[in-house]
Amino acid sequence: MRPPEFKILNPKEKKEVENKLKLQFGIDHISGTVLQRGAERLFLFRGELDYNHIKEIEDNVPVERIGIYFAKHAHDSIRLSIEGVQALKDQITKNIIELNEEDSKTWMYGEEVQIETGKKCYVVIKHKDYFLGCGKASEKKISNFIPKSRRLRNKNIIK
């Protein structure tokens, strides 16, 4: 069965995503085209191809991916992917949690980080100048969404 087609967000829909990202992380603007596949997954495409040409390609050829998966709708919020965080890192000013070396290892290992942040929302994880993705902070922990393929298998690697 073919996966659902990509839907290009219109300016109003894109603005809604931007507004949420502004509120959550201080991100002002997403440069490029934002597309949605299925109910949740958002993709960021910065190639030079307009709406009509993208549709024309999709109508003629099986398209498997447009740009990169960068975020998903999560209830009333937006959860950034690890690549979404990296793509927008220069604009992220809010809800950044800077982890120490030990916790950042735990994080990249794919585990929850047991710290109190005083926040109950999605947060961007940082260690030194590395942006390490997005997690959900609750009372005493940060839940981890790092996909398996991007996890460390050896905690001794971060130095």
Binding site: I57, I66, Q86, I157
Partner: protein
């Protein structure tokens, strides 16, 4: 320092053909000797995310020794020390997409193609994505890249690599290459640059992938040129006039290399020009004669990359401009 490994016995017919290709006992002996060693491990810094200087400094802090072998391409680095198995792919920097593990010879087609900002590029046989990510980095994530691949399993790897490297200017399509070009021709979609890194018998990768020894088969070599030629000729139709196209393989077989290039030159006549290629490795001229066949003299401008000349895998490259 290279580790010697016990390698499978090469097919006698393969060896006979290689001896004939080299036509030099010295070359042949050096080739057989280097086949016993794995090539040095190499990486390409993903300049979309980090500068070569910063990456090198970070990786050196792990105790790794890195050499930048090509002055003009500081993003290319060779690992000049022993690492644990799999260590290169497990570092934080790799997981964050700061570098791509790529054999040196495999970097050459994009170096020859020279993508620039705002180019519209077609990578016809794109998986696993080493050359697509390299092209995206050269083009600074601008313009457009269509990365095509037929196999769904390989598309998943391609998508994962593009994502890890933060490549946002690319659309992945799934179609047989020649058929894709026909569709794009109908749509009047034209490209500034095209890479036809064609499916091949893979003789050049014997050092990296010992399993290639067991898969070597003369029937495969005889059956591939038809597909390779078709991939090139159909994609040439959607290249802009003045646009550039690379035909490359990772094999030494003249049937898949010079024979294809010669047929292309003969068929396209004054519509195409084969170009001299500038790449940072020692190369040999394309063969103008093989077995009973004489090829178009233009094939001399194609480049053969031999493992014993550069401590790389073997490769074949040719570059063309569309004149009309």
């Amino acid at each position: 320092m290279r580790k010697e490994k016990k390698i499978p016995e090469p097919n006698p017919l393969f060896l006979e053909r290689m001896q004939e290709i080299f036509n030099s006992e010295k070359d042949y002996k050096e080739y057989l000797e280097i086949l016993k060693h794995k090539p040095s491990k190499s990486i390409r810094c993903n300049t979309l995310k980090v500068s070569p200087e910063k990456l090198k400094k970070k990786l050196e802090s792990y105790g790794w020794k890195l050499v930048q072998p090509w002055e003009e391409y500081p993003e290319v680095m060779v690992i000049d020390c022993e690492l644990e198995p799999g260590e290169l792919g497990r570092s934080l920097e790799h997981l964050l997409g700061y570098y791509y593990i790529q054999e040196l010879a495999s970097m050459l087609p994009i170096i020859a193609l020279k993508p620039k900002e705002n180019d519209v590029i077609l990578d016809l046989c794109a998986a696993p994505g080493s050359k697509t990510t390299q092209a995206a980095a050269e083009a600074k994530n601008t313009g457009l890249i269509i990365a095509n691949e037929l196999s769904m399993g390989r598309i998943k790897i391609l998508a994962s690599n593009l994502e890890r490297c933060g490549v946002t200017n690319t659309i992945i399509t799934k179609k047989e290459g020649a058929a894709l070009s026909k569709r794009f021709k109908k749509q009047n979609l034209k490209f500034d640059k095209i890479l036809v890194d064609a499916p091949c018998s893979g003789e050049g990768t014997l050092r990296s992938k010992y399993k290639t020894h067991g898969m070597w088969n003369i029937k495969t070599i005889m059956s591939l040129p038809r597909i390779q030629k078709s991939l090139f000729l159909e994609s040439f139709k959607i290249l802009k006039v003045g646009g550039e196209i690379i035909y490359s393989t990772c094999t030494h077989a003249p049937e898949e290399n010079e024979s294809v290039v010669s047929a292309i030159l003969n068929e396209l006549g004054d519509r195409i020009k084969i170009e001299k290629i500038k790449i940072p490795v020692t190369t040999r001229k394309g063969l103008t004669k093989w077995k009973n066949d004489e090829y178009n003299k233009g094939v001399e401008l194609a480049c053969r990359v031999y493992p014993q000349d550069n401590d790389t895998d073997g490769f074949f490259l040719s570059k063309f401009t569309k004149l009309k």
